[in-house]
């Protein structure tokens, strides 16, 4: 999966979760910029993409993700580690 594939997938998941089709995630998007993306929906978002990608983030990473790009990078690392 490329970075763009992951961004698209995350955008779709967050649009569904928040019921807002105007959301477009970029690598530099932060949680505070997206209306309604509170801590409850952050957990839901992480759980949903974990289930879809079949990965599990480390707890330290989930706490430290600052931008959507961080989440994309984290997911990419886990996906490529799985391939090996």
């Amino acid at each position: 999966m490329t970075e763009q594939d992951l961004l698209d997938m995350f955008t779709r998941a967050l649009r569904d979760l928040l019921g807002n089709d105007s959301i477009v995630l970029r690598t530099d998007t932060t949680r505070g910029e997206v209306p309604g993306w509170d801590s409850f929906n952050y957990i839901n978002f992480i759980v949903a993409i974990e289930a879809e990608l079949g990965i599990k983030f480390r707890i330290a990473d989930v706490e430290s993700f600052a931008t959507v790009g961080d989440i994309v990078a984290g997911a990419k690392a886990l996906l490529s580690a799985r391939k090996r």
């Binding site: 019921g19 949903a48 989930v62």
Partner: protein, 629 residues
């Protein structure tokens, strides 16, 4: 969860449903989506749309108020609980208590439970709260003692909650989130962590059974699914969630089954197809010797397993019916002559074997058994028949069967259609009672007149106030009866106990016995009153559909009037609240001699009625009486 296929364009369908102007239509459509196996994100979307409906918007769904209290974080479970409840026809207002505050919430002076007035309190407590302090070195006797104290503390909480707030209590069993410490020795060491949790579960289940508390059995479910499907240590560490967010749907489904069972939403009748369902092959083509059933073939044993499971369901009170496109005579021969048939013809309460459309046959089965179409579960191996029934009778549940008959039983068993909150004597006898009804029908057909028929039944009513021994069955009847039910007000064991114990009120329960057997406790009347008034309010009158047309309503009212007169009562008043299901009693009160009171309109479509006891003339019936001492 219903195994209907997941809706494809979920957001599109949800938006279309949310745009429906009629609240009932919107809720019905939401309920359909809720039953279509939504994923986590879909559940959250659906919940959002559901909560956009104002809480006070009138609708015809049953409303329940639920509070979750406990030690771990529970807020993340609420959307899934609301959605799962809706899939069973319940609009649930659900609140989670504060983290770790369950004792204060039940015992404290400023309890939020008084304000929230829930019908149901769910206690979700981590095992660590109760047995976390038991040292590893504890002896068997010390562990026994700790166990007793923990269970005693819980029972006191249950009792206070019930008495103080009139709630029904649901106790969640305990997830085993421990890690093996002794390995193979775990069960041999009295205070080993896993051993403590397992003993706690047994002890709490016993206490719940004897106290009439319902058990939300996540322990058994997680043992079946694997603990990793339920508990994710990361979410425990991050937010003290004991039930993982990914397991919220499964948790909610288990809770919704309990709530559904309490409010009469469980299914009552299993309708079975025959060819390739009850046996392998097609009897019309393969003949008696050619169908696969029983020992000697793995496929035959798989079909036999389904028959055995159906028979067990029958033994716990589920009605069995058959619906099949076949030649009746050939099918009768299988039942009478095939040596491996486990189900007998007498196990089947309604038999629809013909070449007619199956939807028509299902209607016929429901009407013959006097149950709603929404009480049926239809099991058929044929995908086309399944699709047709879903299309033409959406209220009938049609499980998606796996390709392999080996998995038929687990598909049926795990769907939880027939969940109950108790296993009563009535449940044990229901199958026999339905069989006896078939015999009564035969007499009815042979009788010259209705009078002859009723006289021939030699009926006796045994009656008395609703005593503690009657509470479980009486509240089951009140909550499950939709047809003969004057107000469709539901209750809990606790609320009914309190109502029946108050000397100002008057309660009556009736058992009907005839020469074919005991029909059990089939009718309940609840009257509210106060000492100084000469008026009693009949707030609930329910009667089982099994005894319709037997004059019991007349004899019950005769008895009620006499009992009320003896208390100095002069007037009985009552509301009749019409629902889509209680049309059978729309003329009840006028037939019984009540006058319509015109000045009061207690609610949407409801009518108000009054009976003056000084002018009431008892109606002669064919039922003799016996007062229970």
């Amino acid at each position: 969860m219903d195994s209907r296929e997941r809706a494809r364009d979920f957001r599109g369908e949800l938006a279309a449903a949310a745009a429906l102007p009629d609240v009932d239509a919107r809720l019905a459509r939401f309920a359909y989506l809720a039953a279509s196996n939504p994923g986590m994100i879909e559940t959250i979307q659906l919940d959002k749309a559901l909560r956009a409906i104002p809480a006070d918007a009138p609708n015809s769904f049953t409303t329940v108020r639920v509070v979750l209290a406990g030690s771990p974080t529970l807020d993340h479970l609420l959307p899934a609980i609301r959605v799962a409840a809706l899939s069973r026809g319940l609009v649930a207002h659900v609140t989670a208590g504060r983290y770790g505050q369950y004792r204060q919430e039940i015992l404290g002076a400023e309890s939020p439970l008084g304000r929230l007035a829930p019908n149901t309190l769910v206690l979700s407590i981590g095992s660590g709260e109760l047995v976390g302090g038991v040292p590893l070195s504890a002896t068997r006797a010390e562990v026994d003692d700790a166990m007793r104290r923990s269970v005693q503390e819980l029972r006191e909480l249950w009792q206070v909650a019930r008495e103080r707030f009139g709630v029904g209590v649901v106790q969640q069993s305990f997830l085993d989130t421990t890690q093996p410490l002794f390995g193979n020795q775990e069960r041999l060491v009295p205070a080993a962590p896993a051993r403590l949790v397992s003993r706690l579960n047994d002890a709490v289940a016993d206490a719940a059974a004897s106290d009439g508390v319902l058990l939300l059995d996540v322990a058994t479910a997680s043992a079946r699914d694997g603990i990793d499907a339920w508990f994710d240590v990361r979410h425990w560490l991050q937010g003290k969630m004991e039930i993982a967010p990914a397991a919220a749907g499964r948790y909610a489904e288990l809770l919704a089954r309990l709530l559904g069972a309490q409010y009469g939403k469980s299914k009552k009748c299993l309708v079975l197809d025959l060819d390739n369902t009850l046996w392998g092959g097609v009897i019309g083509d393969d003949g008696l010797g050619g169908i696969k059933l029983g020992e000697g073939s793995a496929v035959g044993e798989a079909h036999l397993a389904l028959q055995k499971y159906a028979k067990q369901l029958k033994e716990r009170g589920v009605i069995l019916a058959v619906c099949s496109k076949n030649e009746p005579a050939i099918v009768e021969e299988v039942f009478s002559s095939h040596p491996e048939m486990h189900l007998r013809r007498s196990d089947i309460a309604a038999f629809a074997v013909n070449w007619r459309d199956k939807a028509e046959n299902l209607r016929e089965i429901a009407s013959r058994l006097n149950v709603g179409l929404d009480s049926l579960v239809f099991v058929d191996d044929n995908a086309v028949e399944r699709a047709r029934i879903r299309e033409s009778l959406p209220m009938v549940v049609v499980p998606e069967l796996p390709d392999d008959p080996a998995s038929y039983v687990s598909a049926l068993a795990r769907a939880g259609y027939f969940e109950t909150t108790a296993f009563t004597e009535e449940d044990r006898q229901r199958a026999e009672q339905y069989a006896a009804n078939a015999e009564r029908d035969a007499i009815r057909e042979a009788s010259q007149s209705v009078d002859d028929f009723l006289r021939g039944l030699e009926m006796r009513v045994i009656y008395g106030p609703v005593a503690p021994v009657d509470i479980v069955r009486a509240s089951q009847l009140i909550n499950k009866t939709s047809q003969f039910n004057t107000t469709t007000r539901r209750t809990t064991d606790e609320a009914l106990s309190q109502l029946a114990a108050a000397p100002d009120n008057m309660t009556l329960q009736f058992r009907l016995v005839d020469r074919f057997g005991d029909n059990g406790l089939v009718c309940v009347m609840l009257f509210l009153g106060d000492r100084n008034s000469e008026v009693l309010e009949l707030t609930s009158w329910v009667m089982s559909c099994r005894v319709f047309g037997r004059e019991l309503e007349h004899e019950a009212l005769n008895i009620a009037v006499e009992t009320a007169r003896a208390r100095g009562v002069r007037v009985i008043e009552a509301n009749l609240v019409p629902t889509p299901k209680n049309g059978v009693i729309k003329d009840l009160f006028s037939t019984l001699g009540f006058e319509r009171v015109t000045d009061t309109a207690p609610g949407e479509g409801a009518t108000r009625w009054r009976l003056r006891l000084d002018v009431y003339v008892p109606r002669a019936t064919h039922i003799s009486r016996m007062e229970r001492q």
